[in-house]
């Protein structure tokens, strides 16, 4: 498999800042990929030129879980140029419906086909009773939900034959029956099921603002060794709450939280996730450069 990226797929322990605990250096550690983007049709042509700032791409799994045609043709082109990771939106790991075995089989087949560096989805549920809401619905943070999610993550990891990453979602509701904080819940899921975490910095900020908790407390509650990837994105200010739209530039508040996250978690593969209101290509690259400019001095100092 040809990879033209300038990034060596170094193990997580190699070249990582010294503040990362030794537990990160497990033999099956996933590679550090650098700074990347979400693959979106709007940027296909620009990405084919293999801009050096973009070191890897995240693809939405469901868009390529198809039988043939143009999507897979494009995907093969990008696979020749970039390291890829797969990011799904439909696993519904927290649902009380049975896991969709057809979905998992197709996901596994795609992973086998494109050999992504890793596979991720969200810590949420997307539907129940056979109905899909196509939204990332929050869970109650209870022991019951924890046991339920952990057993399902283990099953998925068995099917995919790899550890998965779960992403924290933005939320607008919380439930009276919750016994744990969100960060305690996600940390417990990761530890008990031996999965990894995709930390969406924007989502931490959105949920912290909407629920009135401290985003710094959140970061401090997440185990360093579990964080494999960062998402950066923008949000929209609603009437009373902030809405995770992923359709705006990364806000100053999220950049500040990103700096805090780099200080805590060290060298973590980072990407801008833009889902709508696509800006000019140069603006998106400038955002990615900004992430790099914020993180690299901190990482050098820590080394």
């Amino acid at each position: 498999m040809h990879r033209s990226s300038s990034t060596s797929p170094l193990g997580r322990g190699t070249g990582s800042p010294t503040n990362r605990p030794m537990t990160a250096m497990r033999p099956d550690a996933l590679p550090y990929l650098g700074y990347g983007l979400g693959l979106r049709v709007e940027y296909y042509e620009a990405l084919l030129a293999s801009p050096p700032q973009v070191q890897w791409l995240e693809v939405v799994s469901e868009n390529y879980m198809v039988d043939g045609g143009l999507p897979l043709t494009w995907l093969e082109r990008f696979r020749e140029r970039f390291p890829l990771v797969m990011h799904g939106v439909s696993m519904s790991i927290g649902s009380t419906d049975p896991l969709d075995q057809d979905y998992l089989a197709r996901l596994a087949a795609l992973a086998q086909r494109i050999e992504p560096a890793w596979v991720s989805d969200h810590l949420c549920w997307t539907g129940v009773q056979g109905v899909n809401l196509h939204d990332l619905m929050p869970l109650p943070y209870t022991e019951e939900a924890l046991d339920h999610v952990v057993s399902r993550v283990k099953h998925v990891q068995d099917v995919l034959k790899r550890r998965i990453l779960l992403e924290n979602v933005s939320s607008y509701v919380s439930f009276a029956q919750s016994q744990l904080t969100e960060w305690e819940f996600i940390a417990e899921v990761a530890e008990r099921s031996d999965c990894l975490i995709l930390l969406d910095i924007n989502n931490v900020h959105v949920s912290a603002t909407n629920h009135g908790f401290s985003s710094s407390d959140y970061l401090r509650g997440i185990p360093v060794s579990r964080v494999q990837q960062f998402h950066l994105a923008g949000y929209e200010q609603g009437e009373r709450l902030i809405i995770d739209t992923h359709d705006a530039p990364v806000s100053n508040a999220v950049w500040a939280l990103y700096v805090e996250a780099v200080r805590r978690f060290g060298r973590v593969s980072t990407m801008i996730e833009r889902d709508d209101h696509f800006p000019p290509w140069a603006d998106l690259l400038a955002e990615l450069d900004h992430a790099r400019a914020l993180a690299e001095p901190l990482l050098r100092d820590a080394a």
Partner: protein, 259 residues
């Protein structure tokens, strides 16, 4: 039923517009926003997402329905929960829904059916297609029993009006055409050649022969069908012309013979 299952079912009902209120699911409210307005974000997002997904797939329907389009989508959303993990499949029952709810305006269902056929052809399984050279290699004695194996995902749709013109105008951003009803029902062919989806109206004789080929009729029978319609002298050149068109459009996947 577990507490988690109960919460998810109540939340589902609340988001889909049921009577479930925030206090029934023990959603917390605070000074920033009360519980109901928090829940309303999910409720609003649900409808917007489904509407957007349909609008992406049904650009021809949007053109032909005009100002009625949004109401059509909302009526569909109100009666059709999404059951597929990928929102891209949400519109699979829209044409049938329009068949049942808009019998006086069949162009709506026909348009939805063409939009959907284009959408599903886009990422259908890849298939190889037969070249003219491969067909030319068939020995003369074998032609009578020859069966053309057409693309598996080739679709033939009946239509009573010029829905293809609406789709074309929508794709090209050109002026919306006038609705034109045909004197007799016709058929629309939808297929994909490599990565490009195509659609075109079929002539009546072409539809007859193509249908026969799809049902496994041997080449002699295809010619007989044309002869019955046009007479012997016209049938063969017409068959040759159709074959050439089908080959260059990539409609023929392979060849077989009578069992």
């Amino acid at each position: 039923m577990s507490a988690l299952q109960q919460l998810q079912q109540q939340m589902l009902q609340a988001v889909m517009g049921g009577a479930t209120q925030a206090h029934m699911i023990e959603v917390r409210g605070d000074v920033v926003a009360d519980a109901q307005s928090r829940l309303d974000i999910y409720r609003h997002g649900y409808r917007v997402r489904l509407r957007d997904a349909l609008a992406n797939e049904f650009v021809g329907l949007q053109s032909i329905a005009g100002r009625r389009f949004r109401a059509l989508l909302d009526a569909y959303i109100d009666t059709h929960p999404s059951e597929h993990y990928n929102i891209r499949w949400y519109g699979s029952r829209l044409a049938t829904f329009l068949d049942n709810t808009h019998r006086q305006t069949p162009q709506l269902a026909e348009m939805a059916r063409l939009d959907w056929a284009i959408s599903t052809a886009f990422d259908a399984a890849n298939e190889t297609h037969l070249s003219a050279g491969e067909l030319a290699a068939v020995p003369p004695h074998a032609w009578a029993d020859l069966r053309l194996s057409l693309l598996r995902d080739l679709q033939v749709l009946p239509c009573t009006c010029n829905v293809d013109a609406f789709r074309r105008a929508a794709d090209n951003g050109s002026e919306r055409p006038h609705l034109r009803r045909y004197a007799a029902p016709r058929h629309m062919l939808v297929w994909r050649l490599d990565t490009q989806v195509h659609y075109r109206r079929l002539e009546e004789d072409e539809w007859q022969v193509l249908s026969a080929a799809q049902h496994g009729a041997p080449f002699a029978q295809l010619c007989a069908t044309l002869a019955a319609r046009h007479g012997e002298t016209v049938a063969l050149p017409r068959m040759v012309a159709l074959l050439q068109a089908w080959l260059s459009a990539g409609l023929v996947h392979g060849l077989g013979t009578a069992a």
